[in-house]
Symmetry: C2
Subunit: 392 residues, 2 copies
């Protein structure tokens, strides 16, 4: 089916300067991975997002895999996490041995609250994975962080969709023990389609991540007389809290790092532009009570996605008109994870998340790539108005 | 220390056409990952290397992780693998539960033989991991494949360094159950510093690799009336021989795939140029008996690396002169893996590999990036001749 407005897989377009940055790195990086562009990107990221330590990775799932590995789960340990999120937020923790307890979302903000989290806490809770979904920073994030700290529970903040957002001046990804960032194709900034960042607060994690990320490579613990004796480098098992961990290879290339650093100059501008459009869209549709948006006209929301809850069971009626008549490829997100065969087969098919279920079953996600033309945006807005008038 | 000739981390330079390919994909790929450029790259790779199925991945270690996962190791299962190789050839198998039995290399060819492999086989051997090291295809590879097949042992061919080599017209990576290819920065072709490919022969592996590679994403097993009902896509656990496996995220971006496809046009030419230079170097030094190269003037060797064994304990004497006087950054490779703390702590510190030990302790690896200028190459050749004459 041909759409007039597609749901693009590419969040933004590259400028001439960003393309030049890629070409420059292709010509000058030596090596093309794990060199000075990585170091510069990580440093600039720490400055931008006010993190203590940042580590570039091949994707955000890798960041979650590393966070999960550093949780050191023991038999029976649980994580609390929303069912309404993308699968990568959860399955890496299952791989490392955690049991999943699904937390519900707040209906209006579509993210977890301290209250929905607390309902899931048991004596076995080892970690909480919260997701700033759709680009909205969780209002309770400071309270959740305080609660986690006093409960001796690790907090993983999945900021994949919410980069650049903040609450009272404090950036998403600075509250938890681990911050997860994504530069995937769909995201507000993307490092050639794949890329991620893991931020941590504590030095004990920062000390071992380079080894966990890159095959266990490390330096010798003594001064060598010649650089080739006894070998060019050392390999060891990273150790955390007395436990040896096995390494991985999750490196991000230099070209992507050069581009990522460059994109940090433009993320705030792109976020602001998306937010301005989102607010315009929401305001223009406010007379239609069946369509419930989440309007946030400040830095707490970057409108990575533009989604609406549809009242009175009218979702599919509206979808059909938008899709088949107006040729706008709206989609639905995020199928509650407990409903997928993947989680059911793992024994995590049960959830008590009525808000997540109700929201998913009645939501629409509009195409909202940053590069959508004003003309297309206006078409989408007017087409949606027409559909809502027809169905009134 | 400033070198006149560095051991570059970048195997080759990009042409104008290759840079244009990257820019084109940056501007046109939608999405920027897991789209048509991936499909085209994998198809072209299958044609180039004569493989049944090819899957692009974020790096070659990911290819080894997937191969290891599909071995379905049970308690006590063993792999046989050379100690003289890069660590990524081995640790993914340890992560999946295999015990390591170290096979020695043949002294002259620096790779394993059917005989050195056979010495390590027990009733618990589940897989053999062979490495076409330095860019030389293992002479016994067909015999090893036949032996593995009749013994019901899986064969993993690590072709990271030997892409494009062949023996009697049959390409490296077409003998084993799994073929591993690397497009890392050092390699003869590199997809912006990181990248890999996994090839398989059997459909049962090919059927599940897309899910293993990409978070368990799959299609619904029934026709949906509307694309958004019940959800945009399905998530399930890949199943192999009745066992459910957990997924990963090992995707390679579209830009890298576009570039990888383009580089396939030039790999044979670059391999031939490296081989020609290597043979020239070896021939020019043949009067010096202390320096023992492995000369192969045909498609069996791509001279990813140019290495020599040094007789009579003179290695360090020669290294010191090359490094400190001639300012050529020679290196040493590959420290027998059993000597690293990483493998020792895992219980694999013992090896009976006298050839590997003797070779490593007395070898030199010369800088040999494809982009080395003729002037620098000549300087390196003459400088080495001078050093050898001085030490005669």
């Amino acid at each position: 089916m041909e759409f007039k407005i597609n749901f693009s897989g590419t969040g933004h377009r590259y400028t001439k300067e960003e393309i030049d940055t890629v070409v420059e790195a292709m010509q000058n990086a030596d090596p093309l991975t794990q060199g000075k562009y990585r170091d510069a990107f990580e440093k600039k990221f720490c400055e931008y997002n006010e993190n203590e330590y940042s580590f570039s990775l091949c994707n955000a799932t890798a960041a979650l895999e590393l966070a999960a590995q550093m949780c050191l789960f023991k038999d029976g340990d649980e994580i609390v996490t929303p069912s309404h999120t993308f699968t990568s937020s959860v399955y890496p923790f299952v791989k490392k041995g955690a049991k999943v307890v699904w937390a519900d979302i707040d209906f209006d903000t579509r993210v977890v609250t301290l209250e929905t989290i607390k309902k899931c806490i048991t004596s076995k809770t080892k970690a909480i994975v919260v997701v700033h979904l759709y680009g909205f920073i969780i209002p309770d994030i400071q309270k959740i962080a305080d609660f986690a700290k006093e409960s001796n529970i690790l907090l993983i903040e999945d900021v994949a969709q919410a980069m650049g957002t903040s609450i009272e001046g404090k950036k998403a990804g600075t509250f938890g023990d681990f911050g997860i960032f994504s530069f995937h194709s769909h995201k507000n900034i993307t490092t050639l389609g794949e890329g991620g960042m893991l931020t941590v607060k504590e030095k004990k994690y920062a000390d071992i991540i380079p080894m966990l990320r890159h095959n266990g490579h490390c330096g010798f613990d003594y001064e060598r007389e010649h650089y080739w004796q006894p070998a060019m480098g050392e390999l060891d098992l990273p150790n955390l809290n007395g436990e040896n961990l096995l390494p991985n290879n999750y490196c991000l290339g230099e070209v992507e790092c050069a581009l990522g650093g460059k994109l940090l100059d433009r993320i705030d501008e792109m976020n602001a532009q998306k937010r301005e459009r989102a607010v315009k869209f929401i305001d223009a549709l406010k007379e239609f009570d069946d369509l419930v948006f989440h309007k946030v006209a400040d830095d707490r929301h970057n409108y990575h996605l533009l989604v609406a809850y549809v009242k009175n069971g009218k979702r599919d009626e509206i979808m059909k008109k938008l899709v088949y008549e107006k040729k706008i490829k709206c989609v639905v997100q995020y199928y509650p994870l407990n409903r997928y065969p993947l989680y059911q087969k793992l024994g995590f098919g049960e959830a008590n998340c009525p808000n997540a279920d109700e929201f998913f079953d009645n939501m629409i996600s509009f195409p909202f790539q940053h590069w959508m033309s004003d003309e297309d945006f206006l078409y989408m807005l007017e087409a949606t108005q027409e559909v809502m008038i027809e169905l009134k």
